[in-house]
């Protein structure tokens, strides 16, 4: 077999690809309307995650901390949660959803967050805020388990578990997007609109591409409502685009409420988008319209200009969130490229059984590695030791590998703070396929010019 699939050899992490679980839960929480999460732990667990997400989206939004200090770490810090909930509710009268996200410190000291939620319901909400709809939702995110990816997955599941309730059957479907950008949500909604399918979108973060208004009124926040979360139990089915970011919620909805679940594929590239539309069609009976045939054609027209002339045989390394990496790898293969190194930044038991990985292992005819529990030093070390790459696809934290080794890199994934506006563009759907192919090509073109590597080729393209 040409493809090696294995965890990295070193025990430690040099230049991590992911941050930890609470960050994922926080990213999920900002997708919900009237929601401000409380992260139960030290202040850095919020301050830096807000900074990180804010750098990526170039927007601000609210997440609170229970501000655990020394005494709390010694004697237990549940009083800090109690105080945080009340302070938050007093000062943010619109807030209805308050996830309480634990961290390593409060999991180690064993704070009973579930217990305190019950207590707060009886002693605070029922007494001080009897006429207000408030949902306190414990989300357990010990940082020493999983990664930001599993934190996102757990949070989506726990939100769905908390809110979903059977009412009347509905024609809507649930669309669980996974960890994506505002531009992706926009494209997914567009595809569904063309199919005339309505969806509960988890999470509706298109609004994070928000305006600067003359009356100073704009505020960035997610838009998925409590009603939509509640209605997930009534949907015709659930499509979770990402196996590792929302898959658990889809499975839970199927088990608990008999809502059929389709998990994957991540609709990156033409083929996976086709499959996605076919899945929607299967689930709803709605036909794929002519308009999408045309959009697909526009994408293929653009891609055909690039694929076999410029992209074919180009060796690519890809790192980031697993569904993104695997989706990109599949698309690169479809483009005739050679993904030679895939780096997945955590060790998820699911990778062993992931059909995408199995298919890649089975079919690639050149040397390739898929490394789990990987860090960015795995990439650098291989380059240092002779791995030849034409292109890197990954997020901004790996920028210095590209810079120091003069390898062109297209920023994709989370976070991409060192390039302007990337959150606005989709990588999913036909629009995403076009964007990816064109940006990869432009990145290569730019590199040809900088390095004077057959730059004259483009004279007659």
């Amino acid at each position: 077999m040409n493809c090696q699939f294995k965890p990295k050899d070193r025990i430690g992490t040099i230049n991590p690809i992911f941050t930890c679980q609470p960050a994922g839960a926080q990213y999920a929480s900002i997708g919900i309307k009237d929601c401000i999460g409380i992260v139960h732990g030290g202040q850095g667990c919020v301050m830096f995650v807000r900074l990180l997400i804010s750098q990526h989206l170039k927007e601000s939004f609210e997440i609170a901390s229970s501000s655990v200090h020394e005494d709390g770490a010694v004697f237990g810090a549940l009083d800090r949660v109690e105080e945080a909930v009340d302070v938050l509710l007093m000062r943010y009268p619109h807030v209805k959803v308050v996830p309480i996200i634990t961290t390593c410190s409060t999991e180690v000291i064993g704070d009973d967050v579930d217990g305190v939620v019950t207590k707060l319901q009886e002693e605070l909400l029922d007494v001080k805020y009897p006429d207000r709809e408030v949902h306190l939702i414990p989300i357990h995110c010990p940082s020493f388990v999983g990664s930001m990816v599993t934190g996102y997955d757990v949070a989506v599941r726990d939100f769905v578990k908390h809110f979903s309730k059977k009412d009347k059957p509905s024609l809507k479907i649930n669309l669980i997007t996974g960890w994506v950008n505002p531009g992706d949500v926009k494209e997914l909604k567009h595809l569904l609109a063309e199919m005339q399918v309505e969806a509960n979108v988890l999470f509706e973060i298109e609004s994070f591409d928000s305006p600067l208004m003359p009356d100073k009124s704009a505020v960035s926040h997610g838009s998925t409502t409590i009603a939509e979360l509640t209605a997930t139990a009534d949907a015709q089915g659930t499509i979770a685009l990402n196996r590792y970011e929302g898959g658990q919620a889809a499975t839970w909805l199927q088990t608990r409420w008999d809502v059929p679940a389709v998990i994957g594929p991540t609709p990156i590239g033409i083929r996976n988008t086709d499959t996605f539309l076919r899945n929607v069609n299967d689930m709803t009976g709605k036909p794929i319209p002519e308009s999408l045939v045309k959009e697909r054609g526009v994408a293929l027209d653009a891609i055909t200009d690039l694929a076999h002339m410029f992209l074919a045989d180009k060796k690519v390394a890809i790192y980031g969130n697993p569904d993104l990496v695997l989706g990109l790898a599949e698309y690169c293969l479809d483009l005739g490229m050679k993904p030679v190194l895939l780096l997945l930044g955590d060790e998820n038991a699911g990778y062993e059984k992931d059909p995408r990985i199995a298919a890649i292992k089975e079919n690639v005819d050149y040397p390739m590695e898929i490394i789990t529990n990987a860090d960015l030093f795995e990439l650098e070390d291989r380059i240092k030791n002779g791995l030849e790459l034409d292109l890197i696809l990954g997020h901004s934290k790996g920028r210095f590998v590209a810079i120091d080794y003069n390898i062109p890199m297209l920023r994709v994934g989370f976070p991409t703070y060192d390039r302007a506006g990337l959150y606005r563009y989709p990588v999913v759907g036909y629009a995403g396929a076009t964007w990816l192919a064109e940006q990869m090509a432009n990145t290569l073109f730019n590199d040809m010019e900088v390095k004077k590597n057959r730059e004259w080729i483009l004279n007659v393209w």
Partner: protein, 522 residues
């Protein structure tokens, strides 16, 4: 006490004592907010944690060191590549960060073995680096890992390496300031005095509380070098591990950010008799005064005067070009700690702006004392501000620009207040004479951005001016300026290069500069 009560915080009575307005006749005995107290949970404060204060703020700017955090990967990832403290060794400390990657099984069974393996592995991965710092995090502090013992064991086995440990978990104190304190004290206790430096000048200083944001340290180092002063160590921006072990041999500690580094200066004074001289590297006059004082201390004031004269002649006309155009502009000076006092008076005097508010995210009352002492009347001083208070203050004060962090800057953007990054700068360095002009330029470009003006136009309601295809900053800034100033030939806009550090590096070798020998050779 002229406390300021925010409407949004009326339900939090104790917040009232965290903000004051400096009225006419107020002084430090009549107006000072509380500070450095436990944060109110759920208030959406901007504070970070003690781990980041130690690792991210102070430890990591040390450039020739493997910086390893003992815990799950998140602490490491989150505090990696979010600052602009550069170094002249190709930014090793910015590029590489190390986490021991603690998992559930380690929480249950202990992570000391994991730590040891990590240390050995990291040195193997970076064969040129022989120094390491290890930072405790919340998780490993709570399970009681003895990082000192592990480090000692490795040092015994690997005699060519040296390891520093810092026990400052995130929960240790109300803010990042707790970590500043811990790492200062740990460094002087464990590392200072165990390396003997080569002394190459008669004038030897430690440059303390300077983090080389966008090259600040290198600008100042250039001045010191031109004065013939040997900078034994910088604590810590662009500083070397072994240089910092030799701090005890300096004649003088020159201190910039007292908030984060006064502790080590105080201890050096007590233990080694090295005096502490607080200086300001920001602003022509404060900087000139600072260079003069250092010169005076060594009896080489003339060397300082020469630099001051040269630099002032070169850059003052450019500073004044901006000052004329920034007069009266209202500024919210909302940094983390020390800049509130480094900048408050200097920007009013030298750029003509008016500081309408100062705040400190993580500072102590001592920082607020300096800030209030240095700002003018009517300024609103806020300790540990939170999201809603910040917005309320912006609404009330209507500043023309705000100097704060990246994320709060995004909040300001929505209410049409341009922001400059007070921590990492926009186009720094801001220290030094040229740097100060660069700061003025960034302020000018922010306030007079034609885009900023356009963002206030409501095309559905307002008169749309259709007579022009563009507006320049100059058209906006000079509209009401007297003609003799607008057309003055003695004033000019900034004329420096984009990158002013590259040339400095060509000029100065990266480590100690043997001035005495160099001068003798001339």
């Amino acid at each position: 006490m002229p406390y300021h009560e925010f409407d949004c915080s009326k339900c939090l009575p104790e917040r009232k004592k965290h903000a004051v307005t400096k009225g006419t006749g107020d002084n430090l005995a009549t107006a000072l907010p509380l500070g450095y107290l436990n944060t109110i949970p759920g208030s959406i404060s901007e504070r970070g944690c003690a781990y980041c204060g130690a690792k991210h703020v102070i430890g990591t700017p040390m450039k020739d060191v493997i910086h390893m955090s003992h815990g799950p990967v998140g602490c490491t990832y989150d505090t990696w590549q979010t600052k602009r403290y550069i170094s002249d060794n190709n930014n090793f400390q910015l590029k590489y960060t190390f986490a021991t990657d603690v998992r559930e099984k380690h929480i249950v069974f202990g992570a000391e073995g994991l730590l040891k393996q990590n240390i050995i592995e990291a040195f193997k991965a970076c064969p040129d680096i022989k120094r390491m710092t290890i930072y405790q995090t919340c998780a490993t502090a709570l399970i009681g890992d003895d990082i000192n013992a592990v480090a000692a064991e490795v040092m015994e086995e690997m005699p060519d390496v040296d390891i520093f440990t810092c026990n400052s978990p995130g929960f240790g104190g109300p803010s990042q300031s707790g970590g500043h304190h811990k790492i200062n004290i740990a460094w002087i206790n464990d590392k200072v005095g165990n390396v003997e430096p080569e002394i190459t000048s008669d004038y030897v200083i430690n440059y303390v509380g300077e983090y080389n944001i966008q090259g600040d340290q290198e600008v100042m180092l250039d001045y010191f070098t031109r004065m013939g002063i040997q900078v034994l160590s910088t604590f810590t921006g662009n500083g070397t591990y072994d240089g910092l072990r030799a701090m005890h041999r300096a004649h003088l500690n020159v201190l910039e950010c007292a908030r984060s580094a006064e502790y080590i200066c105080n201890e050096l004074r007590v233990r080694y008799g090295i005096p502490r001289l607080d200086i300001d590297g920001f602003g022509f006059e404060p900087l000139s005064q600072s260079l003069r004082k250092i010169g005076m201390f060594f009896g080489i004031e003339d060397r300082a005067e020469k630099i001051i004269a040269e630099e002032t002649a070169r850059w003052k006309p450019e500073l004044d070009w901006y000052k004329e155009r920034l007069k009266g502009k209202k500024v919210c000076l909302w940094p983390g700690g020390s800049k509130l006092w480094h900048w408050a008076h200097a920007i009013e005097e030298e750029m003509g702006v008016k500081v309408v508010s100062v705040y400190t995210k993580f500072g102590h009352q001592g920082d607020m004392e300096k800030g209030i002492a240095r700002c003018g009347e009517d300024a609103l001083a806020i300790d540990d501000p939170n999201e809603l208070e910040g917005l309320e203050a912006l609404e009330k004060l209507q500043p023309d620009i705000i100097f704060t962090g990246k994320r709060p800057g995004e909040v300001a953007k929505k209410v049409r207040v341009p922001y400059l990054n007070a921590h990492a700068y926009h186009n720094g360095p801001y220290k030094g004479f040229e740097g100060w002009v660069r700061f003025a330029r960034d302020i000018y470009n922010g306030i007079y951005s034609p885009m900023h003006q356009l963002s206030g136009l409501d095309i559905s309601k307002d008169e749309i001016p259709t007579d022009r295809g563009f507006v320049t900053q100059r058209m906006l800034s000079d509209a009401k300026l007297p003609e003799e100033i607008a057309k003055s030939e003695s004033l000019r806009r900034y004329t420096g290069k984009d990158d002013i550090i590259a040339d400095l590096r060509k000029k100065n070798p990266p480590y100690f500069t043997p001035i005495v020998k160099a001068e003798a050779a001339e």
